[in-house]
Amino acid sequence: MHLNQSLPPELIRIVISVVVLIGFTFLNVLLLGYAERKISGRIMRRPGPMEVGPQGIFQLLVDGVKLVAKQFIVPSEAGTLFRIAPLLAFMPVGLSFIVIPFSNRLQVRDLDTGLVFMLAVMSLNTFAILVAGWTSNSKYSLFGAIRSVAQSVSYEIPMLLSLLSVVLMANTLSMRGIVLAQSPVWYVVVQPVAFLIYFVAGLAETNRAPFDLPEAESELTAGFHTEYSGMGFSMFFLAEYTNMFFVCSLGVVLFFGGWSGPKLPYMDYTGIIWFFLKVYILLFVMIWIRWTFPRVRFDQLLNFCWMYLIPFSLVNLLLTAVVVKL
């Protein structure tokens, strides 16, 4: 009781949120890493990891221990920011969770500009990649970073334009408000084109196959994180998988009605089940796409963005604006 009175409730709330969300970040990476390897295995008709634990479920834990135990090697002429870049990649992870509405009453903060906040924080990842590639003093890293920046900058445009048409319909930038605005029909029904464009741009934003040119193994070894080992590499790995989670949760919030679904007891809290179900279905599609399509060429990548995604999202935005006005 004494503790409760001496501490402001807001502080307790912040501490609990941070602990839960950071814990969830790691759990999510373990889950996704395992799912990625199992699904890729099944698609190639292999069993995937099988050795550590039943069906290999502890494989990612063991990998994590290995990565933590490894030495963090700094190239001899690497810049001073070399050590900071992994942290820079990991930092937005904690921030983006703030505005995600997991359920009606499970949200750290409902900002009025939640969507803008989330997009701004997510695009910081590009900055981390640029710093990592530049300071590594390696040609592979530099080329990976250059590609990543070019790709992110061009794909940010259709992504924002497609989200803008949703915002026009919801008439709010608050994440919770957008979910509540979809109570009769999900926006994926009304705005299928916007969803497709968002999803494709999201794949490119997270550097996932078939848009994984920044990490193209055959040409660039590992792209921007070639020179990183141990925890530095795992930070990028964590950031990459958490960014996948953000892209999918943003997709669920904006197009699939967030936590809405068949009624459950304590719906204000248990809506999180529907939310996670939808997010992980989208993540499965992302993994499925990765193991289906080969990597695109760089000119194809940019052509696709400028010739198809941007005109289509512009037309979509214009039509939405006209319909909303009517």
Partner: protein, 146 residues
Amino acid sequence: MKEYFSLLFTGAKSLLVGMGVTLRQMFKPIVTVQYPRERLDITPNFRGHTELVRDRETGTHRCISCKLCQRDCPSSCITVISEKREGVKGLTLLSYRLDFTKCSLCGICVEVCPTTALGFSGEYELAGFDPDEFRYDLLKELEGRE
């Protein structure tokens, strides 16, 4: 303009077809073998190192120590050692040494053997730390193969 949209249409269609293929593969049974725990039966035509064939009737090998295999071996990796014993017809085989580090698995020894005393074994797990591990004595190996 027509090309622009037809490219979009065929592209989208081929992407969906591709995803259909991978999804179908995903639910098919696994084809890889979990090797140390599961093993495939090896084909009878498999050529491992040679071994002395056990004769069904006598329960031992059929080698008469004619040394044709030793003479014909292109890699000269066979050494047959035998002696003449009192009261025993023919030569008695003491040791049949096969230096598998030099053997090229040509099978001439098996072909040339007049009593078909030699055959190919199904041994395929061949890894060791010392070349001596691959200098076999096939007679001892036959006795050990009870």
